[in-house]
Symmetry: C2
DNA sequence: ATGTCAATTCAAGGCTTCTTGAATAGTTGA
DNA sequence: TCAACTATTCAAGAAGCCTTGAATTGACAT
């Protein structure tokens, strides 16, 4: 992921409503959710939702597909992951403390990172 | 890290100049760098630099300390890591594909994540 | 064809962010 | 004290973002 794409993705993520959208859509996987259902779930007016969905899609964080009258939106997991990886790798130069703080959580899937980064000076 | 702090940190990161600041300051560690030297290195006018440093500090991403006439700024590695962790954990629900994409890089320190998350369907 | 439904686009307004030059505060050394 | 230096604050203007209601597009069923 290049710099301008990462910046666009970060800008898109830096908004409460759009973060809510990511939070709602990520568990839905590739199938995603129709705009109308999203609007109902989050209690957002249609034009406002359209605006934010479009912002996320333009940043590459969402994909959309039409099904009959509905438009289903789903997250692009790779884009989100690459964006975070960009901050870790390109901006923070894989700084051990940053990696450790990022991995410092309950999920055993990522615990390995904190463990390995014992080289951190604290 | 709570939601509003993570949002503030993401907003602060979503700017080219401030990303440049993080990129410059992270390798400097806890010692950091004086504002004047930062301005000279990046070629930024003093008031503009002050504006962005202040934005990052208010978001918790930077710390500052005065030494004689200089003000040294350094990154708060824990805050950056926690912010990324917030997106992974709270927003993306530790979605395997997101974790895999985040870990998909050259640094062996994080390769473990991608390896373990072999459960991702891809 | 027509009515209905899902979603987007448009236009206006209000608000926030960013940049710039000028002015200010605080510190050091002569 | 005074001059020099470092950094921040201030004010103004430009630019961009967000929200809202109204209008529009496109698809479906009768």
């Amino acid at each position: 992921m290049d710099r301008s794409k990462a910046l666009a993705a970060l800008s898109a993520l830096a908004h409460e409503t759009r973060l809510d959208l990511i939070r709602l859509l990520t568990p839905q996987g590739a199938e995603g959710m129709a705009a109308g259902q999203i609007a109902e779930t989050l209690g957002i007016a249609a034009p406002r939702l359209s605006f934010h969905l479009s912002a996320l899609e333009q940043a590459g964080l969402l994909r959309s597909r039409k099904v009959a009258r509905n438009v289903f939106y789903s997250v692009d997991a790779h884009c989100i992951g690459s964006t975070l990886s960009f901050v870790l790798n390109d901006c923070c130069c894989d700084h051990p403390e940053v990696l450790a703080a990022c991995a410092h959580r309950a999920d055993p899937l990522v615990q390995g990172v904190g463990a390995v980064s014992g080289t951190a000076k604290t």
